[in-house]
């Protein structure tokens, strides 16, 4: 027995040994991620008119002084995931996660920005509206004067050299990701500084809206002084891949910024802290939207008017920033974040996908909790693999569209948690949305749908062994069977949709669609499976019949191209269904080359008309974005905006510059 007396200490020693192993494995301390400053460019663009620019002369420096907060305010924003990088080259490149972009993109300016609430394109750093594109030999150029007096957070002035440096770096290093779409190498030859306050873009061919107004003109701008040595160092690497890797992993401690906040600290997995930029170049400025469609921007550098600044002022935004600091708190689950919101640990929860119904119910009516609901800029849809019969037959696709009762899905099945969508450009995107597209089956009864489908299919060569029909006595469909096209049996089709665990709305809708199609004798099986499985089969391998996925969209409908262009049909690209209508492609090219916004709008509407007829996609529904915040702490200048307030975190003049605090 005596020998066993030492048992417990030995065990404990073993525990210590295991623990020491673990400690030894993680001994090297991670360096403190602490940075002093940062900045940069502005967000993505969207659409609208840039008409008149009334240049600034007199400078009503503090035209409308903001009421200062009584005590230093720390605005605490909850978010469900950590950032992965603080380096903007990386963030707009391979580390383009939602959270990186939300936390850092408002640090960076661009020549033009989207206006508040309406998404008009208005000057930000540019001194006026869009310059006319000029042809110089076989090239096209855009020469943009920029405002004087805009300073980085380190006090140095922003010049055209900064713009040229950013564009040149993106082009020379062939930076991937968002850089590639912001500085499109396919048409953009070079960006150069004519003088300190004039920048010139040279294009190999006349750029369209996507490439110029919604591309390079809205691209992020970084400070040359800070990044030039870093880029020079990266270029010493042997090949482009290594050069990019060196740039993406470069430290950016102390990077000067233009935005309202300066990066202070990143405690990995816990929070990101930013502090107020005392040199914010838009501090105290205002932006007014007019009912006439114009926007008036007043800064310490003057007033710039864009469009018709007539009629009533529909929005008057005053910029701070009004918080001394903004902390982004990371929560592992929505449940934990909701408790934190209720407990006052966070003031606003960033959740681009919205909260689940159960959590919304938990927050509804709770004291101190406010919410707002906005249309989302996106949709759930089904699309067809048009390389395969009978999905290549437009009549078949129209029949499917007729059978899907979106109203029933959204109102009855999904209990009004979703809204039906009739066209590719969601209704909330007013400028580009075509409200007059052809719709399928809206308002029809089940009986009418069956009759129309039978008529349509018969007229296009389809027959049944047993034709479906509406049974008036039983008030249900006498199910059809043996569907044939020109005498050949229609094979069993597969509808790929996400499982209920991933998205119960789509899973439920898919089961109903399967049932409705089966009723008219279309042999189909809904396969509810993992999201990654669907993505792999649809986009990587193009091995599918019908699939149900969703898109979150930008405001400029470039997706009319990327989803449906004939040159985007390759494996791994977005036109996975292989849609290729020559008439559409022709009009699409005109749309892409168009530089006039009004003409582009008309073309976009026509493209939507064609899509509504051809139905490569059947748009189903969208789910409104419902956001929660603490009105006792924070007040947003506006809450009615497409995709919700969370969509305005990206902008240098967005909510972090404009939110007010009690």
């Amino acid at each position: 027995m005596g020998g066993r007396r030492s048992g417990m200490p030995v065990i404990l020693l073993a525990l210590v040994a295991v623990g020491a192993l673990a400690v030894a494995a993680c001994t090297r301390e991670v360096e403190v991620e602490k940075v002093v400053q940062q900045t940069v460019v502005v967000e993505r663009q969207v659409a609208q008119t840039v008409v008149v620019v009334h240049t600034a002369t007199a400078v009503p420096a503090t035209a409308t002084p903001l009421p200062k907060p009584k005590a230093p305010v720390n605005f605490v924003v909850g978010m469900p995931s950590d950032i992965t990088s603080t380096n903007i080259w990386n963030i707009y490149g391979p580390a383009s996660t939602t959270w990186n972009v939300k936390v850092f993109s408002h640090n960076y300016g661009s020549l033009y920005r989207e206006s508040d609430q309406r998404f008009d394109l208005v000057p930000l750093i540019a001194a006026g509206g869009f310059p006319e594109l000029k042809q110089e030999g076989d090239k096209w150029t855009a020469t943009v004067p920029i405002q004087k007096g805009i300073k980085w957070s380190d006090g140095t002035e922003l010049t055209a050299a900064d713009v040229a440096f950013t564009g040149t770096t993106a082009l020379e290093l062939k930076l991937p990701g968002n850089w590639a779409s912001q500085y499109p190498a396919a048409v953009l030859d070079k960006v150069e500084a004519v003088d300190a306050s004039t920048v010139k873009f040279t294009f190999s061919k006349k750029p369209g809206l996507a490439q110029w107004q919604y591309g390079a003109a809205g691209a992020a701008i970084v400070q040359k002084k800070f990044w030039e040595p870093v880029v020079a160092n990266a270029k010493k690497e042997a090949d482009l891949e290594k050069q990019r890797a060196a740039l993406f992993t470069a430290k950016n401690d102390g990077e000067p910024v233009l935005g309202p906040l300066i990066f202070k600290k990143w405690e990995k997995g816990a929070f990101v802290e930013t502090t107020k930029n005392p040199g914010y170049a838009w501090a105290g400025s205002t932006s007014k939207n007019y009912s006439g469609g114009g926007v008036e921007e007043t800064t310490s550098r003057g007033t710039i008017k864009t469009g018709a600044t007539t009629g009533d002022v529909t929005l008057n935004v005053k910029r701070g920033p009004n918080a001394e600091s903004v902390t982004f708190n990371i929560y592992g689950t929505q449940d934990a974040a909701v408790l934190a919101l209720r407990g006052g640990n966070i003031d606003y929860y960033l959740s681009p996908l919205g909260l689940s119904a159960g959590l919304r119910a938990q927050l509804a009516g709770k004291p101190g909790i406010g919410s707002f609901q906005n249309a989302s800029n996106g949709f759930r849809y089904i699309s067809f693999n048009m390389r395969r019969a009978p999905l290549d037959d437009v009549a078949f696709r129209q029949a499917v569209a007729l059978l899907i009762d979106k109203n029933f899905i959204t109102q009855d099945i999904l209990q009004r948690t979703a809204e039906s969508v009739e066209t590719i450009v969601p209704v909330g995107n007013e400028f580009w949305h075509n409200a007059k597209v052809k719709t399928w089956g809206v308002g029809l009864t089940r009986e009418q749908r069956i009759k129309e489908v039978v008529t349509l299919l018969k007229a296009n060569g389809y027959t049944w062994d047993k034709e479906p029909a509406w049974n008036k006595d039983d008030r249900k469909v006498d199910v059809g069977s043996g569907l044939k096209k020109n005498g050949v049996a229609v094979r069993n089709l597969e509808l790929l949709a996400p499982s209920a665990g991933y998205d119960p709305l789509r899973a439920t809708a898919a089961l109903f669609i399967e049932q409705w199609l089966k009723e008219v004798g279309i042999p189909i099986t809904a396969n509810l499976t993992g999201f990654n499985v669907i993505v792999d089969r649809v986009f990587t391998n193009q091995d599918f019949d019908i699939q149900m996925l969703g898109w979150g969209l930008g405001n400029y409908p470039e997706y009319l191209n990327s989803f449906f262009a004939a040159d985007r049909m390759g494996k791994g690209d977005n036109n996975a269904g292989g849609y290729n209508n020559p008439a559409y492609q022709k009009l699409l090219q005109e749309f892409l080359a168009e530089t006039d916004l009004a003409k582009a709008q008309v073309q976009a509407h026509k493209l939507q008309d064609m899509l509504a007829e051809d139905l490569p996609y059947i748009t189903l529904f969208s789910v409104p974005i419902i956001e929660f915040y603490r009105p006792d702490k924070v007040k947003f200048p506006y809450t009615n905006v497409l995709d919700g307030v969370q969509s305005k975190t990206h902008s240098i003049t967005g909510i972090f510059a404009t939110a007010e605090f009690n």
């Binding site: 027995m1 020998g3 066993r4 030492s6 048992g7 200490p9 030995v10 065990i11 404990l12 020693l13 073993a14 525990l15 210590v16 623990g19 673990a22 400690v23 494995a25 993680c26 001994t27 090297r28 301390e29 403190v32 605490v76 990386n90 391979p94 580390a95 383009s96 996660t97 991937p176 990701g177 590639a180 779409s181 396919a186 891949e241 890797a245 993406f248 600290k265 405690e267 990995k268 997995g269 816990a270 600091s325 929560y331 592992g332 689950t333 934990a336 408790l339 407990g343 993992g530 990654n532 993505v535 792999d536 986009f539 990587t540 979150g552 470039e558 997706y559 390759g570 791994g572 977005n574």
Partner: protein, 382 residues
């Protein structure tokens, strides 16, 4: 013994490579890859996407990727995380201390509680305390962990406001800290293991020499160590930060203990009940030893073997954390890292983290084998 250890180490290396291969293949077998993330940006052209795939090395055949991975692994290089764009080892080093501190603490507390209760209920078999402990233990064991975690957060964090609502630190306190959280985590771990190590070594020496007044000396030493620790932490200016982390640990450790102590308790109870029929227990009683001495010094120590085996494996498992616990309590350790990397197809990080935990599990098995010899001198490896 040394030959046995050599054999076991060689076996472990073979198992590790089989494990590595399996993990690699399984992660690769997932549909899609990390480059699918960029499908969300429809403005990227096919060429842009191909360029991105190439930059991640995803354009190479799987066997080439595997060969490269194994080559780098042998050199101690676990690759670069796609998401974080930094070495996998850096990410693991960053997450591991948080997981180790939380889960090892929870495991040890749970083990101690389970073992103590197991001893008591085995000794009081058939009495109310046994039924109450067993039923409540089993009931708690079956509680759905996410639910209990959320309830604990709601009650102690929101309603009563006694404890933080998840996370491992308070941003306000840490905002101006001149160091990061891992700096404090490392020192906490070193303090625990150093202090514990000293205590255990002294206990070992005292026990082996049968010195009188051992308990008092140990308590005195523990007090001294505590005082020294408090002095060091205070003068180093780290005390408030350490206290903040410890405060954030209370809820997750409590919840993990509540749901898991029953396993150890029942194992100890059953093991002890079997031993109670042994002759040496009868002999001890015949010698007139007090019941507490028989229970704690004779029966409980002999009952340790299966319990310690279970503990060692639990500790090895603790290295990979608990995805659920880490999610609920917003405790970003290795478990969450594993999950996130696997979900987004960050292959180097997923494989690296899995392999890392595999190494610990294998080491724990070897340690458990060696421990048997000390726990039960009848066991000999030859």
């Amino acid at each position: 013994m040394s030959k046995y250890l050599l054999n076991r180490t060689a076996q472990s290396i073979v198992v590790l490579f089989v494990f590595l291969t399996l993990v690699f293949v399984l992660v690769q077998a997932q549909p899609g890859d990390y480059a699918d993330v960029f499908l969300q940006n429809p403005r990227l052209t096919t060429e842009d996407r191909l360029e991105l795939r190439k930059s991640f090395g995803l354009d190479r055949p799987m066997y080439v990727q595997y060969a490269l991975y194994v080559r780098n692994f042998v050199k101690g290089d676990l690759g670069t995380s796609f998401q974080h764009q930094r070495p996998v080892t850096d990410v693991i080093k960053e997450r591991l201390p948080r997981t180790v501190l939380l889960f090892v603490t929870a495991t040890v507390v749970s083990f101690y509680m389970g073992f103590t209760l197991g001893k008591i209920i085995a000794w009081r078999r058939g009495q109310f305390v046994e039924y109450a402990s067993t039923i409540s233990g089993v009931f708690l064991f079956t509680i759905f962990l996410p639910w209990l975690g959320l309830m604990a957060l709601w009650l102690f964090g929101l309603e009563l406001g006694w404890l933080p609502l998840g996370k491992f630190l308070s941003p306000r306190l840490w905002s101006d800290a001149p160091f990061n959280a891992n700096y404090v985590f490392h020192r906490l771990l070193w303090s625990v293991f150093l202090g514990g190590g000293i205590l255990i070594a002294v206990m070992f020496i005292l026990n082996s020499r049968r010195m009188p007044g051992r308990a008092a000396m140990l308590f005195g030493l523990a007090g001294l160590l505590g005082l020294a620790g408090w002095f060091w932490w205070s003068t180093a200016g780290l005390a408030p930060y350490a206290a903040d982390i410890l405060k954030h640990m209370v809820l997750p450790v409590g919840v993990l203990t509540v749901v898991s102590f029953a396993g150890t308790m029942l194992l100890t109870r059953n093991s002890m009940l079997e031993l109670l029929r042994e002759d040496f227990v009868l002999a001890a009683r015949a010698k007139g030893l007090p019941e507490k001495t028989i229970r704690d010094h004779h029966v409980a120590r002999n009952a340790l073997l299966p319990v310690v085996t279970s503990l060692m494996f639990s500790l090895a498992g603790a290295i990979d954390g608990g995805v659920i616990t880490e999610s609920i309590f917003s405790w970003p350790g290795l478990g969450l890292t594993l999950l996130e990397s696997a979900v987004v197809g960050d292959m180097p990080l997923a494989v690296g983290a899995f392999v890392f935990t595999g190494v610990f599990s294998l080491a724990a098995h070897v340690v458990a084998d060696v421990l048997y010899v000390f726990l039960d001198p009848r066991i000999r490896y030859s």
